[in-house]
Symmetry: C2
Subunit: 337 residues, 2 copies
């Protein structure tokens, strides 16, 4: 931006009032009480006529906050994370907040970049989305202790002091397994994401518990780690499993991409979906409905989660017990079960 074209002073001069008056009226605070309708209307008219916009740098400098949320993620390519970011952005917008993107790839060593971005002071609060394995729990706690608000998405909070929002992953696993069992499936494959991923592990744990409770023998249950979240890896893992001669009658994948990749492999092996093998994904990302056949999946309530995250992000600093919001997942039945 080049130097501001229209400032409070301009508006004030044109309307015949001082900048303090304009400032107060523009923000809408106090106006009803302290200013005459006459003045208010006149000022607002000039604001509209001149096209005045507040200068955020000046406001930030004065208020000591930037109305900007820093979002860090290690892979913006993951559809679920991307839609979560969008949801957060949507919830943030009415409050005048924007999203500053910080891609981990771009930013050298994790710790450095996290602290440096904070140091830049550009940011009021931080949203960490995804596993962000290059960031230790200690790093996160350290940032929080420096007095910065931190909200975690798709990563378990390392301590009750750290705010987080997510679904109840175990419940999601339960939902999927219960449906598969009800359908009569008895040889289940659990398709996990990156090695050691917490979300993945919880979802699988939930499904496993449900299967055991239903009396399925351990031999009927196999857990596959695909090493990532992509369609390609889902295909690979499933293909390898099938090529080794295994014949499951159901697959529960820890996200929709993996599920769709698995479906690809099943189809390639002439296994009909859902007749020979039923498939359930996780997330209900946009592509789930357009898969072929449309994918049954465990939905995460993205909009609600985004709104909750936004709320935590901009809430006034309430001492030490951060909000930990867990949303209930929902089974969306389509045509793969």
């Amino acid at each position: 931006m080049q130097r501001q074209k229209v400032t409070l002073k301009d508006v004030g001069r044109e309307a015949g009032v001082t900048i303090g008056t304009v400032s107060a009226i523009v923000r809408g605070s106090r106006d009803r009480i302290f200013y005459s309708d006459e003045t208010r209307d006149r000022v607002l008219a000039v604001v509209a006529k001149l096209g005045y916009r507040v200068n955020p740098a000046a406001r930030s400098l004065r208020e000591g906050k930037t109305r900007t949320i820093g979002v860090m993620l290690d892979d913006i390519t993951l559809p679920f994370l991307a839609s979560l970011i969008c949801a957060v952005g949507k919830a943030l917008e009415p409050h005048g907040y924007s999203i500053l993107l910080c891609n981990m790839d771009a930013a050298g060593a994790a710790r450095e970049s996290l602290l440096q971005t904070f140091a830049r002071g550009h940011i009021d609060a931080f949203m960490l989305a995804g596993a962000l394995t290059r960031l230790t729990d200690e790093d996160i706690l350290a940032v929080q202790q420096r007095g910065h608000r931190v909200v975690l998405l798709e990563r378990p909070a390392p301590s009750p002091v750290i705010a987080s929002v997510g679904v109840d992953n175990q419940a999601g696993g339960h939902l999927a397994a219960a449906k598969l069992l009800a359908r009569g499936c008895r040889r289940l494959v659990m398709l996990g994401g990156p090695a050691g991923n917490a979300m993945s592990q919880l979802r699988i744990a939930g499904a496993l518990a449900t299967c055991r409770a239903a009396g399925l023998p351990a031999a009927a249950l196999t857990v596959l780690e695909s090493g990532g979240w992509t369609t390609a890896l889902g295909y690979e893992s499933m293909h390898r499993h099938l090529a080794a001669g295994h014949r499951p009658d159901a697959v529960f994948a820890c996200n929709d991409q993996l599920a769709i990749g698995a479906m690809w492999a099943l189809t390639a092996h002439q296994l009909a979906i859902p007749d020979a093998v039923a498939v359930i994904g996780f997330d209900d990302s946009p592509m789930a409905a357009f898969a072929h056949p449309p994918l049954t999946t465990v939905r995460q309530p993205v909009a609600a989660m985004g709104a909750a995250a936004a709320e935590l992000l901009i809430a006034p600093a309430t001492a030490d017990h951060a909000g930990q919001r867990h949303f209930p997942p929902e089974l969306i039945e389509r045509q793969t079960t």
Copy 2:
């Protein structure tokens, strides 16, 4: 951020100099010339000791620029756009610039949101990535005429005054078609993206021209519009085509997702890749190498393009002839040809 902990004044006091001195030394300008090594070292030591960081709001207010680039896109889920954004971010970082995300979905009517984001003054320049169909060429020109820098990615510039960066799409189409022809393919399917998408049309036009030049009859060439850029749509279009009884011996898809979807359909129809049907994608997005089999594709030089975009974004305002950078694509041969 809460009120700054360490300011120039603090450093100055501690080092026994004035803030002007500290400011100049910190920025590194003039220091060698105007300041004694002794003072400089002492100041820098204090800066390090106290952990001083410049306050960007104050700097913005003073300098009249924010060192922030606004990035608008209509779908951050598209892998190629996402990686382009990352590349731009990476190129921007050494210059101290950040990326402010503006998702079109979140932002109501396009024109409104574009202008309003500008109005917020938060931004030095704007990067428009993707087709952004809700934004007319007039909207873009209007913004540019208001004195704001605009750079287009994956959308043709509506006028020479607007900067843009992209690949030579026709050349890419040529590369793909030439490879397919050289392989002996004679019945080609061109799999396009969203209806009317300019990138898609250019790529297909390039391929078509090459085929015609090679003497292929029009009847051997079929163009399919899949209506989007996703794997699912690629599958759908290809599946429909095959189900209708057609038997091409090659597919050129306008991005890698479409190509992979098409491969899925081909596999489902028992058509071996590449023996029965060869496939070429576009972009060389990360998943191309992990497709099964690994996908031959036309690579866009993402890093170079990102760097070029960053350069245009932060270059000083050079009157009216904006840079239009077109990069040469490159054929990456893997195992689908």
